[in-house]
Symmetry: C2
Amino acid sequence: MRNTAELTDLFRERGLRVTPQRQAIFGLLHGDASHPTVEAIYERARAQMPTISLKTVYQTVHDLEALGELQVLDLGTGSVRVDPNVEHSHQHLVCTECGRVRDVPVETGGLRLAPKHRRAFHVETVEVIFRGRCEACADAP
Amino acid sequence: MRNTAELTDLFRERGLRVTPQRQAIFGLLHGDASHPTVEAIYERARAQMPTISLKTVYQTVHDLEALGELQVLDLGTGSVRVDPNVEHSHQHLVCTECGRVRDVPVETGGLRLAPKHRRAFHVETVEVIFRGRCEACADAP
DNA sequence: CGCTAATCGACAATCGTTGTCGTTAGGATG
DNA sequence: CATCCTAACGACAACGATTGTCGATTAGCG
């Protein structure tokens, strides 16, 4: 995801307004690799802007997703997670214990469908989820 | 997933009671490859047993999952889907248009993490989701 | 046949997310 | 710099999927 200044320009180009709320969210997400939930972004935004609403965070996240600046992940952990890393192709490690998500580069080119399925289904994206226990959770049984 | 008679025995062995409701659900799910939602199972069950409750369907699905007789999938389509195919290792095709899910055999052995991640994360399962358009939806633009 | 714990179904509650709506303010224009 | 139009705001209620509660009922076991 780009930085606040670039996103400001991009939003204006697209006819979207740039509000203090949105800029706060831009700043929080740029370079964030923690895969926060929307709720978590909301909490952090509220620390610097107490009146911001959860709805506004959802709205901005969706706008950023529509612009291709971030990816919204549903990893089956109950709530959706935000991944601003769209620059590098990657897949995800999900800790079944603590829910933490980490990016990993994985070569998915080796995954081939059998010809009969390849004919009957136009694959657009391939998503790989590695589930297991992260270092911290493996240490603490 | 096993058939109704085998599941009846299995449930009794485990101290779970076998009710007409549960047997109806056993019969509906055995051999079903449609990946129904819980709601869909409920509708079908209600056709032959109008008083059955949605709660009972959820409960039975969870019991079957705990016994390893089926898999509950969260494919990001809003509601959870039930996959009674636990006999053959497989992955899933998900149509982004109609939401239909299909099983596909895929060799995931080729997916290897970089050593630094392999050390820091104990992978237990690997899940692959192919998203795209199924035959029916590709034909109808 | 009767005891008892498990299951049943009706209902309400929960959680994450989205819609509604009156108000505010971005930003293009003059 | 003032004006205007409308997108975005925040408060609140609603939504869909799933789960908890709780008497009434019923299977399993002796």
